[in-house]
Symmetry: C2
Subunit: 274 residues, 2 copies
């Protein structure tokens, strides 16, 4: 399998967290990056519509807004508050010009996972009118099982596909992230199924390091770990995916390095390993 | 669901790692613990048969020896070395009087998981004559997906059951540990399947803390986390399991406390939460 096209390279703002979004946009564009996924915290204090225009003026496609979700709550009031925040995210995506919001679906420690999953599905369904009005899609991102306690009760692509099938809306799909999914023996078949559902909305890449020393912020740059990136991309493309390969890396180690140097490494790691 | 019987309480030597095995045996027995699972490192420098007798003299049932496995290797020589170590473990179990060895099956970072899984299955099959001769069983322990890089390519109970079915020997079964399996949406059905296969050889309990700050050594004592222990034990017992509930906790935090005090907490947490 050959290298992924640079035309499909997108980077998440969190990957180069030390940079303000304006800096990231300028640097990404100068490095030949074509797409950007915007984390909501980078929009704090900005005019969102103007920031969207600034990104497009740099020639960047806005791939998605990260993130909505966290639907489960112990009380109805908690769950209503979560819906309010998701509606705010939909409005932000609309203003920014992002066609998609990635959902980290949430979980409440100690609440049965089956209950959290039901609350997630109900929460997404409740947002459908807002999505239609704003023309914004939602992507369920299945999270690694090590986040099942508090971040997401949706932990496999199979579960995300099941939810997409149950909700049955062209606005609801999946964000597949190799970090969360690479270990799954059913991955190839579930990627194919996601393609048949026309629900494969986004594809995120990074790597899994050995040893991993932090559950959240020790992801590897592509090539630094054990994830079979070429193989997984071949499955994703066989499923009909033609979108961006989004580099999403949370790493205390990489955030601490010179970010210009890091961006060069991202681009070369993308060519060498994605 | 009522409390688990104290007659079914076993503790792994690693749970109270600061204690030598002789100390652990005396203390466990005095606390009313009925079973012990022995980690191999505690046998260093001991006469293994005499140590087994010492445990039995305290009235303890020897539940299993931890651990064999780590079958995958990049070269045939590595894999042969792994088999040698497993044969050594079988001899140790026989000398100790342990009827069962728990297998942490292994993985080689960057080697395809499918290849590691094949090497695991081949490795277990190669040990069958040794198991028969020593009258020692082997339990495949599916490990949490966060260990798929380097510790086990068997990450769900479904995969372990598949392997048991493929190997087809009454000597080969499964060790089900709530820490590794609790998140799995297929858990109830796979526990039932494991029971039908007569392959549910061991059941390990602890808890999952929020937040978990270390991938290896931050397990919780039962009740400190979010695992639905009573529910899972009900599934295990419905599947016909009548063995020990083995407390296996790796925790820098709990190893640092007074171990007599900790043992009291283990016994009360067992009654309150398992």
């Amino acid at each position: 399998m050959s290298s992924a096209s640079l035309d499909n390279l997108a980077i998440h703002t969190i990957t180069t967290k030390p940079w303000a979004i304006e800096t990231a946009a300028t640097k990404f564009a100068a490095a030949g990056v074509k797409g950007i996924t915007v984390w909501r915290d980078t929009l704090n204090g900005r005019d969102i519509a103007k920031t969207g225009q600034l990104l497009r003026d740099q020639g960047l496609s806005i791939v998605s807004l990260c993130r909505g979700g966290f639907f489960p709550g112990a009380t109805a009031a908690d769950r209503a508050k979560a819906l309010d925040d998701n509606r705010k995210a939909i409005a932000e995506a609309h203003a920014l010009g992002a066609p998609l919001i990635v959902l980290v679906c949430g979980a409440v420690p100690g609440q049965p996972l089956t209950e959290s999953r039901k609350q997630i599905q109900d929460g997404i369904a409740a947002l459908l009118p807002d999505c239609t009005a704003a023309n914004v899609k939602l992507a369920i991102e299945p999270l690694h099982p090590m986040y099942a306690d508090s971040r997401s009760a949706v932990n496999t692509l199979g579960q995300a596909n099941d939810m997409v099938e149950a909700i049955k809306s062209p606005l609801i799909g999946v964000a597949a992230d190799v970090y969360h999914l690479w270990w799954d023996p059913a991955l190839e078949q579930e990627i194919a199924r996601c393609g048949r559902l026309k629900a494969l909305f986004a594809y995120h890449v990074c790597d899994w390091r050995t040893p991993t020393i932090d559950l959240l912020n020790d992801r590897g740059l592509m090539g630094e770990g054990c994830i079979p990136l070429r193989q997984i991309r071949s499955w994703v493309e066989a499923a009909g995916f033609k979108g961006f390969n989004e580099v999403e890396v949370f790493s205390n180690r990489l955030w601490a390095m010179d970010q210009d140097e890091y961006l060069k490494r991202i681009v070369s790691a993308y060519s060498a390993h994605v």
